[in-house]
């Protein structure tokens, strides 16, 4: 059999193999182009993700450090115990602001003018008095002694030390004056300035002062909200899917319900927020701005996702399993709970995790139900006023202070970290289930 076309006279009829060979090159070229475009698209996508992550990480990593200034503090009994009685109430009500100012004067004895002193006071954060107050209440024995303490630096100092403020800028455009920079340089030369790990970022609630603002409040709010969301939507969603898929009669009503569920999954999330505002807060009187009402709203939003994913997972369980179970005399409910549901569980959990990840990143509906309020306290339960991470990011991104830029990025990093953790947990959980079955 000859495959190659023999050299043929121009008048000879073309053989099939010639036609095929002639088009072959073009066909392969088309395939190569398609493959190349696919690979290019994936590469481009990964590149953008890498740039995004690098940008966020580059902006955010410095928020995990905080500038501290070492200040000699004399715990003056005249300030702390003006009445002479060292009881806790007097200590709590003492003027720690004055203590900080006295300490700064101790640090820079040469400064005498009010203007100079005001600048020097501004180097220390407005959170320093609180720092001293908690120290005194924990160790009253420090009263009357002088200690070298590391106090939180002000936001502008922090920015300067992290290189976010440009010294070359004209003084008038800069937040920090030349004289202050001179003071700081002297402190730095004395080893009195240090950048340390910013534990406050993880233990503080939010604040007007960037150097004091932390994500603890938003994290706690997110945690309570997601726990409740899962409790609301998972059992309800799986139950609804099970009933609709396996038990409900197939008629126009169930068709209507199915269409509605599919449409609900595509409803803009802010509409769920409006619903929550109108129904849960205004009608049922659920306290606004709480994880409870947020979870109700996000639960409603997640429900269609879980139902759709669960139905698909149930449908993918082979009918032979149902027949096998029914064939040995299992009741329909036993068939579902002993055999079908466990087999569908990996798929159901994937759906649930997709839904929870969406809930974790959601901010729009929560704005409608008061989660945007400025809440300094870390929520302690499901009915405390709270905010959540995405809303906190939104609020910080909206703040004009330079110090909030790095905090915003850092909060995004934390949010992304939680998403990765959730997905990891999902993968591990699925693996475990798949091994068992």
């Amino acid at each position: 059999m000859q495959i190659e076309a023999p050299p043929s006279a121009p008048s000879a009829p073309r053989r099939t193999i010639d036609i095929v060979n002639a088009s072959l090159k073009r066909r392969y070229a088309r395939e190569a182009r398609f493959r190349f475009m696919g690979a290019a698209a994936v590469t481009l996508g990964l590149l953008f993700v890498a740039v995004l992550f690098a940008d966020i990480a580059g902006k955010g990593y410095s928020a995990f450090q905080q500038t501290y200034i070492q200040v000699p503090v004399y715990f003056d009994p005249a300030i702390l115990e003006p009445t002479g009685t060292p009881d806790p109430q007097t200590l709590a009500g003492a003027d720690y602001q004055a203590l900080v100012k006295a300490s700064v004067r101790l640090l820079f004895p040469e400064l005498t003018e009010r203007r100079q002193l005001r600048e020097a006071y501004a180097l220390i954060s407005a959170g320093a008095p609180q720092q001293l107050a908690s120290m005194v209440s924990a160790h009253p024995s420090v009263i009357g002694t002088t200690r070298d303490l590391w106090l939180i630096a002000g936001a502008d100092v922090d920015m300067l030390m992290k290189g976010h403020l440009d010294r070359a800028m004209p003084e008038a455009d800069r937040h920090i004056k030349d004289s202050s920079i001179a003071l700081l340089d002297r402190l730095a030369a004395d080893g009195r300035i240090e950048k340390r790990f910013n534990t406050g970022f993880f233990t503080n609630g939010t604040s007007r002062e960037p150097e004091l603002a932390g994500i603890a409040g938003a994290l706690a709010g997110t945690f309570y909200t997601l726990v409740l969301t899962l409790l609301f939507s998972f059992p309800l969603g799986v139950g609804a899917a099970l009933y609709l898929q396996e038990f409900a009669p197939k008629n126009r009503w169930t068709d209507l319900i199915e269409v509605n569920i599919n449409n609900l999954a595509a409803v803009p999330s802010i509409v769920f927020g409006l619903l929550g505002l109108a129904v849960f807060i205004n009608f049922f009187g659920v306290p606004r701005s709480t994880p409870l009402v947020a979870a109700l709203v996000l639960g409603l939003m997640t429900l269609p996702v879980i139902i759709i994913a669960s139905r698909a997972a149930l449908q993918s369980v082979p009918p032979s399993i149902r027949e096998a179970a029914l064939g040995v005399g299992a009741s329909p409910l036993q068939t579902q709970f002993h055999h079908v549901l466990p087999l569908a569980m990996p798929g159901i959990m994937t759906g649930a995790i997709i839904g929870m990840a969406r809930a974790l990143g959601e901010s729009a509906p929560l704005l409608m139900i008061g989660m945007i309020a400025f809440i300094v306290d870390v929520p302690q339960g499901f009915t405390d006023a709270a905010t959540v991470l995405p809303v906190q990011i939104y609020l910080w991104a909206d703040s004009p202070e330079r110090g909030f830029v790095e905090r915003t990025s850092a909060a995004i990093l934390v949010l992304l970290g939680f998403l990765v953790l959730m997905n990891l947990a999902a993968v591990l959980l699925r693996r475990r289930f798949e091994r068992r079955w």
């Binding site: 197939k250 082979p318 032979s320 399993i321 149902r322 027949e323 096998a324 179970a325 029914l326 064939g327 040995v328 005399g329 299992a330 009741s331 036993q334 002993h338 055999h339 087999l343 079955w437």
Partner: protein
Amino acid sequence: MSTLASEIIRNTGAISAADLARGGRVSGTIGDITAPDPRMVCRGVNVWYGAKQAIRDVSLDIGKNQVVAMIGPSGCGKSTFLRCLNRMNDTIDGCRVGGSIRLDGQEIYDKRVDPVPLRAQVGMVFQKPNPFPKSIYENVAYGPRIHGLTNSKAELDALVETSLKKAGLWNEVKERLDQPGTGLSGGQQQRLCIARTIAVSPEVILMDEPCSALDPIATAIIEELIDELREHYAIAIVTHSMQQAARVSQRTAYFHLGDLVEVGETNQVFTNPRHQLTEDYITGRFG
């Protein structure tokens, strides 16, 4: 042969010219539809899927200690009929069953009859081996466990062992009862399904083309097993293989387009079919 038999045999004559003119549609069943010691008695069974009638006026007994083979071309209703016998058709939307099917005198389509215990009495083995994706032990123990047939772990262990022994699988799996049933070979899986079925001590076992997914060696083992199981159970088997029907069954029923055309002793049906359609089918002229 029971006295009922003579009443039921409606048409023992050859197929009429009028029947053939109507596209081979037959007006009644040829042969003896009764069994000497019937477990299940079916009379005038009609099944509709929506508006379409799948089987028409089928009457047949499933006798104790014998195997009834149901043969016929695809779509003739033999599997549909089989699935009526333990109400597996209940799970199909739009399926209606008319007529009378009795298990030991009890009408199984009676409103008061619960299909769950019925299926414990009338077990089923399916076309494709369908073990649960659990351990071999759990596969067999599942039925007895949900029905509460045993009082202790030891009893359950014994029941699992007996069932696996009856299904001829014990020696192959006794060392690895905790391994997944889905890891067995196709023939072993089908025997596991048989063990699972007999673990709940049914009276009747229905088999829907149990060997169609198996190789000849596994098929031979299953056929041998079916012959042994006959000692304790009434068995109805649907098969596409006429050789299989000839080998394992005592009675054969030939279905055609929803009608039960002919029933008889297997020997007689295969050597001396009385209906033209039966003859055409078993001689390989169609089907």
